[in-house]
Amino acid sequence: MYLWRKLVIVVTISTLVLGGFAVLGMSQEKPYKGIVLHMACMADQYANYLKVLGQKFEQVTGAKVNVDILGYTELYQKITQDYATHTKQYDLATTDIVWTGQFAKKGWTVDLKPLILRDYEQIGVPDILPVMWSEGSWNGKQIAFPLAGYANSLIYRKDLFNNLQEKAAFKAKYGYELRPPRTMKELADIATFFTRPKQGLYGLVANGARGPAVAQDWMEYMRAFGGQIIDSNGKVVVDSPQCLAALKFFVEIFDKWAPPGAIGYWWDDRETAYRTGRAVMEFSWSIARAGYENPSISRVVGKTGMAMTPSAPSVEPQFGFGGWGIAINADISPKRQAAAWAFIKWVTSPAIQREWMLHDGAPTRLSTLLDPELNAKMPWLHTMLKLFIDGNGNYRPRVPEYSRIQDILGLRINQAITHELTPEEALSKAAAEIKAIYGQ
């Protein structure tokens, strides 16, 4: 009996001591308990699961991340106003690659370079593809961490391209095989061939809505024609012959090959046109790729091919790279910055990125793109990897003045496709206005 009592006392004391250690240990494992971070997030396909991950993060560190999902224009307006007026509404924000220069110049977000160097091993920096770092790198600083890499590719209806009757008819008409186009001439031929308004089928679709949508889509074609907005010497060259050729081609898309409403299209409208089977080809970001296989939103399940975007003769192929970094508001307290950095490391870690990829996420890591299970489910990942390896994140100038440049192009390109201005007039005006920004 005595021994029994002794045993009970020993077990009770041990339990209390060990339990105490466990509680202490848990509080050490959850160093940010009670902190609620607010994140502004672009309303892209990846956003919904990022919201889920924001809540999951609480189980790991104790800090919760509330994600506000905002449209492109609203996101930019909200975070720039927040940063400029130091109101600290958001601790974290997804940051478009093209905002890098502006945010860096203003010093609105934390330079993450020292933190990346400190946690180099933990992050697994070599696993992140080199092109991804253009999401936030500026003059030796890293003002955002690569979150979601997008590759710009040619999306096409594989079922139509492989249809024997279509192939024969195309060869009879144009004298060469129907296959994903490699040149802009081939792109035009195929777009013409498949444009059949009576069947509700249109050969090629692009964004036409005034503002960032039309400006950014035109820049894809500008890249394919070898054009630039600002050359390596800082000279504004948006009225160059290459840019003019790109704009003439772009105008043709809306005049000849796109669905009637494309002049008013934003990104989601363009994707809807493709997913509903009305458009045969588009230049699109890889984030939309998984959606084509989702039967609840797509009529082209199993019918989509993904290829490298074509380019004009004598232009060395280079592929558009874009996407989103994740940045920390420089105004928030060091404690909140530490919690935000912990979230960034966690959400971009290999395991979480893999989980995110299964829910419309976007990759930044080589290990994610080579993951056998992911490749089995998403066979297009190997094409994305090729595009990332030769990706160019600078064809849209990531300069501090980008927003004003985009505003100018957003109007002038739209005026060209609506024939308010000729392509020559549109680019001449755009060039004069962009030069005025730089005092050229």
Partner: protein, 316 residues
Amino acid sequence: MSALACTVCIDLPKGWTVISSVRDYFNTGKHSLYLFIIPIVLYLIFFFLYPVIYEIYISFFDYSLGSPKTFIGLQNYVLMAHDVQFLHSLVTTVIFVVSAVGTELLFGLGIALLLNYESRLMNVIRTVILIPTVFTPLVAGLVWKALYNPDLGVISYYLRVLGIPIGRGLTVERSTALFSVILVDVWEWTPLIVIIILAGLKSLPREPYEAGVIDGASARQLFRYVTLPLLRPTIIVALLIRSMDALKIFDIIWAITGGGPGTSTTVANLRIFQVGVQQLRIGYASALSNVLLVMSVLVGVFFIHILYSKKYGGVR
């Protein structure tokens, strides 16, 4: 007056000499009236006068949000005089206001006359007709954007079925985009004009009509020479309210066309939004806003002048 003064007597603890003297001041006859106007004066100072003065002040600076202010005198106004996009937006605004408000007045007057008799059905119609006005303009804009959708919209579909040429779509063709947004404004705000004019019609005296009928006036003559002149103040008030509101149009256009295609639906407020909120050029946007403010004030003064001017048969 003494009864009025009594209602604002203030009982304060003895010894509070300063407050007591304030109390005495207000308790004396005419001074007590100031108490009644203090709240509205404070409201005007903090919520109207201060923002307006600050806006005028800031318009003399080169000021981008997040950057230091630099005094540049009238340079923003000089820049504005050469800003083709803003000048074009002013013209678009005037076209929008005249077309939208003019159409709303014509429809509003017609519908009000149709609804100006009593029956159970009329009571129901008068209620139902107000539904568009209850919509938030942004929501109305989004609903109409879907209806106008050139590829999938109901309006585009039926217009094409009827063989009416709409090009690539009503909202994406430069020739029809402004008309499309004016139509939405007319849909949303005509009921307001109907209600204002209907209220005016209900308050008209019967005697002039009786005299007209005795004199053998036809229904058309009664409308032309009795109804319209008597409704004049009501119509002017309706025009005043709607014109000043239409000058500030933003949400419907933002939702439907975003100011495009090209600059065809970019009204002044939209241009100010682009400069101030998207480009964060607060100083320049303030200068542009001041122009719109002056336009609103001029429109208001014009209609109030008409309303009270004897020369135009006004009420003074």
